[in-house]
């Protein structure tokens, strides 16, 4: 225990803040400033309580996020989960096929069609969906009366809590071939219009459903960012003669910029995940030609056809591309001077 006194005094100096540093050169000779010089053991000793507190979360991540990564091994096998008494032992018994699954995937037109659908949907949603919560947040923020504001917020949040089954059923009742809208048209002598089963407009339909369901929910983060803008800034801008639009352009939007950049980076990382349940539910209505995305492709081949190796390979390809995308988007955010998701 004799060692412990020295480090403790150091840590105390360190944690009490910058005072030793601020007090100038007199204390500058004491080697207490740069954290990097603390040995691993000392830092461990200092932060042990904090580390202990993170332990459960780390364990969860290890068991449920990192351990399953090992399962990707089936992407290189002709995996048969029933080859032995349990699925994990089967991994060792299934024949190794190397990159064969990947070769097949890259030669599979259905896979490329799924990639294309996924990317088109992603860009559509980026253009048509992403700006809407920002606009809504600005709108809500400009509402002064608290009751109106609370009410409109509640109405906007609500659809987020509906399940996709419900949302699609509602769309079907309204816009389906026998839905309200079609019957209204027919009663007035026009032809019915079946939006739900038209493969050509399916991507817009899916985007519209997402907007209806989740745009309101998306405003929460922006509202939080807006509430942190100091009213002084608006007052000062108003004093300088800035009108409504100029205040929004020069005060509000700059305040939102880091949040927008952060969400954009996260969104790009998720680019290949465009809504599994929503699309799976409507896959048969328009056929896989229009509705197959990477996630449904993996589900169809893995769970439905039990071609686990093939599906795992497709999933792995998706994961690798997503990682690349998130790194690239983060880089772009840094170049634009934003924080992004992380910084070295």
């Amino acid at each position: 225990m004799s060692h412990s006194t020295v480090p403790r005094s150091r840590t105390e100096a360190d944690t009490t803040g910058k005072s030793p540093v601020a007090s100038g050169g007199a204390t500058g000779t004491r080697p207490n400033r740069p954290k990097a010089k603390l040995s691993w053991r000392l830092r461990f000793r200092r932060d042990r309580v904090l580390l202990l507190m993170t332990l459960p979360a780390v364990l969860l991540i290890l068991v449920f996020n990192y351990l399953p990564i090992l399962g990707n091994i089936v992407a290189f096998e002709d995996y048969d989960p029933y080859a032995s008494d349990n699925g994990i032992v089967s991994m060792l018994h299934s024949p190794w096929v190397g990159l064969e699954n990947f070769q097949q995937i890259f030669a599979d037109s259905a896979f490329w069609s799924a990639v294309q659908n996924t990317l088109v949907l992603f860009f559509l949603q980026l253009i048509l969906f992403f700006p809407i919560p920002i606009l809504l947040a600005l709108l809500i923020n400009s509402v002064v009366r608290p009751r109106v504001r609370a009410l409109s917020q509640a109405i906007l949040y609500l659809p987020h809590f509906f399940s996709w089954v419900l949302v699609i059923a509602v769309f079907q009742q309204l816009l389906g071939g026998a839905g309200l809208f079609s019957q209204l048209l027919r009663q007035h002598g026009f032809d019915g219009l079946d939006v739900m089963t038209d493969p050509n407009t399916f991507k817009f339909l899916v985007t519209a459903q997402s907007v209806w369901k989740d745009a309101g929910w998306g405003i929460i983060v922006f509202l939080a960012a807006l509430s942190s803008v100091s009213p002084d800034l608006y007052e000062a801008a108003a004093m300088d003669g800035a009108g409504r639009w100029r205040r929004m352009w020069h005060v509000t939007l700059p305040a939102l910029r880091p949040v927008i950049a952060l969400l954009l980076v996260l969104r790009v990382g998720d680019a290949l995940t465009v809504g599994f349940e929503q699309i799976l539910l409507q896959r048969d209505a328009v056929g896989p030609g229009a509705a197959e995305v990477l996630d449904t492709f993996v589900w169809w081949n893995g769970v439905r056809n039990q071609d686990f190796g093939y599906a795992a390979a497709a999933g792995l390809v998706k994961g690798v591309i997503s990682l690349g995308l998130v790194l690239a988007a983060n880089k772009v955010a840094h170049l634009m001077g934003e924080q992004g998701v992380y910084k070295k």
């Binding site: 989960p81 029933y82 739900m196 089963t197 048969d284 209505a285 439905r304 056809n305 039990q306």
Partner: protein
């Protein structure tokens, strides 16, 4: 269609199929999924239940003449019972308890909300059997997804019920690797210890042979197709519509019926009826799709009839005669019952059990409503040319890790659930306890609320007697169902691999996966007939021709079940 057809049998199956399973199967993958289901793969090289040695593992058949049916089975139909129920004359088919009081866990698909595990029905059944059955009921609609995971684990329940439509992909390989050989307990005369099991037709047992061993406890079903074109007889009579006798007449009738402005369409997706009318080989199980024509095996997708049936169905859609809901496809399609009752469409093809279940469902609130089945027409106005379905579709398997006493107890359960109509065991299995779960008035049993909550699925899933149709509440429906089966049975032929449980070699497992989807794309106008022709030629070059050779060898080695 086997899975659904099997369900058409008993009154209790009403609760199971009627309200729930058929709907579930139809929505979640029964009817439309059929072409994609079916036994397909084995980790080993595949095989059949028809091999020469297989005869030896089959159990002996001992008829169980407890009750004589009002309409005997003919042409592959079920047995029909149309008389009233008289509790006083019920027979006993299991005179002494065979259960040894052990504990048996059973995992089974369940459609609806499972009751509490200590409910009166389970208790009464367990007391009768002498076994403590612990049910692990799983949602039937997503059973395939759970099944794969459960079988991949090292800890599987003592008994697992697997419907034929959930035997896609690698499940057959799991069945061979994970479940016990019941041969020592049931083959030959050994089965006589379980008289109700011994009365299950041999056809159904033959289907229970996996990997050369007897592994399954079957639910027998009629081999006549289970898909009936059902129509609203009351509206047909009122409007003077006549039952069509050819594809053209059907089309003309649809034109007459359809009035979208008034929210009325002629029908739902009639693809399955089209396949029947045009004489297309069955798509319910992959082996049934092969048939020997002039010395060469032909697959259903290669036949001109297949394309004609799709083209005809496409015309129905294109002309706007099909209710828009049907365009949504199976996963988004809702229960057709309410819209059929509302008269939004007048014809739909579905399992024969709906003939009864829809009748019962509407009887009190909608007295005018009458649902009836129309005879399947030949596309050219002549007799239809129908193909037989498999004579058993749902199987219960016993884990290979189960001890002998557990296996004996599980067989004791099956011996009770397989009791024929007219016995006390049948009534308890299918209706529950009199007074608690059902009441009898004028010879018609009616389930109480408690009966409706507790007496669904579970025990009826384990093994059942020869296919039976008995509806004491609507005897005229039971009669019409059996007679429909017998009329259609007269036009039914058996294809080369009828009655066999065949597992294709794993490299061909996924060969035919996309055809069902393509069928739906074509009928709904998203793809062309030429796309199908292209897919068929791709199928041939990617392994279809090799698969043909594999089946040919199987046929050369083992012959057919019918010859």
């Amino acid at each position: 269609m086997t899975p659904n057809a099997s369900a058409a049998s008993a009154p209790s199956r009403r609760s199971f199929l009627a309200s729930t399973a058929v709907v579930a199967a139809a929505v979640a993958g029964g009817v439309p999924l059929l072409s994609a289901c079916g036994a397909s793969d084995s980790g080993s090289g595949g095989g059949t239940s028809q091999g020469k040695g297989v005869k030896k593992v089959l159990p002996a058949f001992v008829a169980n003449n407890v009750v004589t049916p009002d309409i005997p089975a003919k042409n592959g139909s079920a047995l029909g019972f149309t008389s009233k129920l008289d509790l006083a004359t019920l027979k006993t088919s299991v005179p002494k308890k065979l259960g040894k009081g052990g504990k048996v866990s059973i995992m089974s698909p369940f459609w609806g909300s499972p009751p509490k595990s200590d409910n009166a029905y389970y208790k009464a059944m367990n007391a009768l059997i002498g076994v403590d059955v612990a049910w692990q009921n799983q949602d039937g609609n997503t059973y395939d997804q759970k099944l794969g995971a459960v079988l991949a684990s090292s800890d599987i329940p003592d008994v697992v019920v697997i419907p034929g439509w959930n035997m896609g992909g690698k499940i057959p390989s799991a069945i061979i690797n994970k479940f016990a050989d019941l041969g020592p307990y049931l083959s030959g005369d050994a089965i006589k210890e379980y008289p109700n099991l011994a009365a299950i037709p041999t056809d159904a047992w033959q289907r229970s042979v996996f990997g050369g061993k007897l592994r399954g406890l079957p639910q027998p079903s009629p081999y006549v197709t289970g898909i009936v074109p059902l129509y609203r007889k009351d509206i047909f009579d009122k409007e003077g519509y006549e039952i069509p006798t050819s594809a053209d007449e059907f089309m003309a009738l649809c034109k007459e019926i359809t009035n979208a402005k008034a929210k009325r369409w002629a029908c739902l997706d009639m693809k399955w009826t089209a396949f029947q009318a045009f004489g297309v080989l069955s798509g319910s199980e992959k082996p049934l799709g092969w048939n020997l024509v002039d010395g060469k095996l032909i697959n259903r997708i290669e036949t001109p009839e297949y394309l004609e049936a799709l083209e005809w169905t496409r015309k129905l859609f294109a002309a706007g005669y099909v209710h828009p809901d049907a365009k949504l496809g199976k996963s988004a399609a809702t229960d057709p019952g309410p819209k059929f009752a509302a008269g939004e469409f007048l014809i739909y093809a579905n399992n024969i059990s709906q003939w009864w279940s829809r009748t019962a469902e509407q009887a009190t609130q909608n007295p005018a409503y009458k649902i009836w089945g129309m005879d399947i027409f030949g596309h050219d106005g002549g007799n239809p040319s129908l193909w037989a379905e498999q004579p058993a579709g749902i199987f219960a398997f016993i884990s290979k890790n189960a001890s002998e006493s557990v296996i004996r107890d599980a067989l004791a359960v099956a011996n009770v659930t397989a009791a024929p109509y007219g016995t006390k065991e049948y009534m308890l299995t299918n209706y529950g306890v009199e007074g608690t779960h059902y009441t009898v008035k004028n010879g018609v049993p009616t389930k109480t609320d408690q009966g409706n909550n507790e007496v669904i699925n579970a025990y009826v899933m384990v093994a059942s007697p020869a296919a039976t149709i008995a509806h004491p509440d609507f005897p005229e429906v039971a009669k019409a169902q059996v007679e429909w089966q017998q009329r259609m049975g007269a036009f039914t032929k058996k294809s080369s691999f009828y009655g066999q449980m065949i597992t294709e070699p794993s490299r061909y497992t996924n060969l035919g996966n996309d055809f069902e989807q393509l069928e739906d794309d074509i009928t709904r106008g998203r793809k062309k007939i030429s796309d199908m022709q292209q897919a068929v030629s791709d199928w041939k070059s990617k392994g279809g021709d090799q698969l043909r050779a594999w089946y040919q060898k199987l046929l050369d080695d083992n012959g057919t079940a019918t010859s």
